[in-house]
Amino acid sequence: MYALDGKVALVTGAGRHRGLGEAMAKRLATEGAKVVITDIGAEKGAQFAAEHIGTTAEMDEIAAEIKQAGGEATPHICDVLDEDQVAGAVKKAVDTYGSLDIMINNAGIGYLMTDILNLEQKDWDAVLNVNLRGVFFGIKHAAEQMIAQGNGGSIINIASQAAKRGFAGAAAYVSSKHGVVGLTRTAALEFGPHNIRVNSICPNHVTTGLGAWQNEHFSAAGGQSEDDYMSAMESRIPLGRVGLTSDIASTAAFLCSDQAPYITGQNLDVSGGEEMH
């Protein structure tokens, strides 16, 4: 439906089952793209809480599943905190499949959520450096490659509903995602002349692995049962349900297809109407 045959895509943070990255990589592969999926891998992720870090084996499984379904995928370890590794991931895509046409900067930290008075610099830095600086590295090195190829390209950054409003107890996360919106707009201006479109997607709550952790964390913080917390959330969403990874995956496929040739610099809410600006 989106005619991505022959395109090469790189999706960061795509090494966890149930995650947005996995869903996007699988959808792009279904549409004909060859995908390089990256994640931090347990070895490099030792600085973070183990339950939030995928293992290399999990990423390999996702790549194998894409291949079993008839697609083409290559797993690659990449810590987006390290610019050289991001550049290396772009090189991996080019070495493996010959080019880079689609870059999805998805890797992010959706935990380390603390109120401002108790927020320590190391946590602030970790969230900002992964969620914002990591996206900057991804844009920079993908755009450099796309400019060299001379055929344009599409870059999609995964922002959040938290890019459009504040959330008490999540200052670092909210700040990083607001930053992604500004970065997206600026990159769209800088790379428009090279026919590289840059957009972001702003999901509301999706019960990924990280999303499940957030539900547990925020319901406990609010003294609610998780069921009550989820019911309250659903009642705030005009379409009456939380987001699905498939909602984000189909939007990503659309944005990087030739059905969106004039859409750039946008930060698209995919939130069942919960956000409208």
Binding site: G192, L239, D247, S250, Q266, L268, G273
Partner: protein, 258 residues
């Protein structure tokens, strides 16, 4: 194209020319049965003839609620349940505020915002009665997000459409009806072509220079095309966008990146 709208009935107001025509052609190419609702019946009929059996032209003045209701009724009789309502009809006029006659202001409100309200209302009534949800897409504009000198009335209507659509999205979500807007920048249409001389005159430049100046505002380096808008409308109306409501989708080459 695709068959993603096969079997659906789509009504497009102002569907005979310009962006509306592009939307009609795209939805038709994606499998929909299309109703071209327009005051320009000769252009509407000619387009319907070109498209063939699953297209119908109905003379419709969007200022007239009864005419819109009749249009939707005929659409349903001809093709079955209404799935997609595109409220596209509208016009633009170069008119400095101090020179704008009150009647000209009122006429623009009547067509550009009242007409879209009525289309939203009539479309939603039909979709609620059917009980299967539906898609409403309304024509806004970059001019609805940023005021443009000499187009105060147009910008006012296009901003109003965004808020009306957001309210409608919240109100109609329990009926599984999604409501979104599109907000193009400058699009190559007969309507914009007609405006260029006036824009050029106001800035004391040639028509070609005015065209180029507007193009230079766009990071993507070209004017918009009706196909840009039509592709996004078709996508918004498909199941892949089933969680998207209350949004303005801009296809403006990064001109208003916000």
């Amino acid at each position: 194209m695709s068959d993603r709208h096969r079997g659906k009935t789509a009504v497009v107001t102002g569907g005979a020319n310009g962006i509306g025509r592009g939307i009609v052609e795209r939805l038709h190419a994606d499998g929909a049965n299309v109703v071209i609702a327009d005051i320009d019946m000769s252009a509407a009929a000619s387009l319907a003839d070109t498209l063939g059996a699953n297209a119908l032209a109905i003379e419709t003045d969007v200022r007239d609620e009864a005419a819109l209701t009749s249009c939707v009724t005929q659409a349903v009789e001809q093709f079955g349940d209404l799935g997609i309502m595109v409220n596209n009809a509208g016009y633009i006029m170069f008119s400095p505020i101090v020179e704008t006659a009150a009647d000209d202001w009122r006429r623009m409100m009547d067509v550009n915002i009242n007409g879209i309200f009525l289309g939203t209302k009539v479309g939603a009534q039909q979709m609620i009665a059917q009980g299967k949800g539906g898609i409403i897409v309304n024509a806004s504009s970059g001019g609805g997000r940023k005021g443009v000198p000499n187009f105060a009335h147009y910008c006012a209507t296009k901003a109003a459409i965004i808020m009306m659509s957001q309210a409608a999205a919240g109100e109609l979500a329990p009926h599984r009806i999604r409501v979104n807007c599109y907000t193009p920048g400058h699009v190559e249409t007969p309507m914009m072509s007609g405006l260029l001389d006036k824009i050029a005159g106001a800035q004391d430049m040639s028509r070609d220079d005015a065209y180029q100046a507007l193009k230079d505002e766009v990071p993507w380096g070209r004017w918009g095309k009706v196909e840009d808008v039509a592709a996004a409308v078709s996508w918004l109306a498909c199941d892949d966008a089933e969680y998207i409501t209350g949004q303005c989708i801009a296809m403006n080459g990064g001109q208003l990146p916000w």
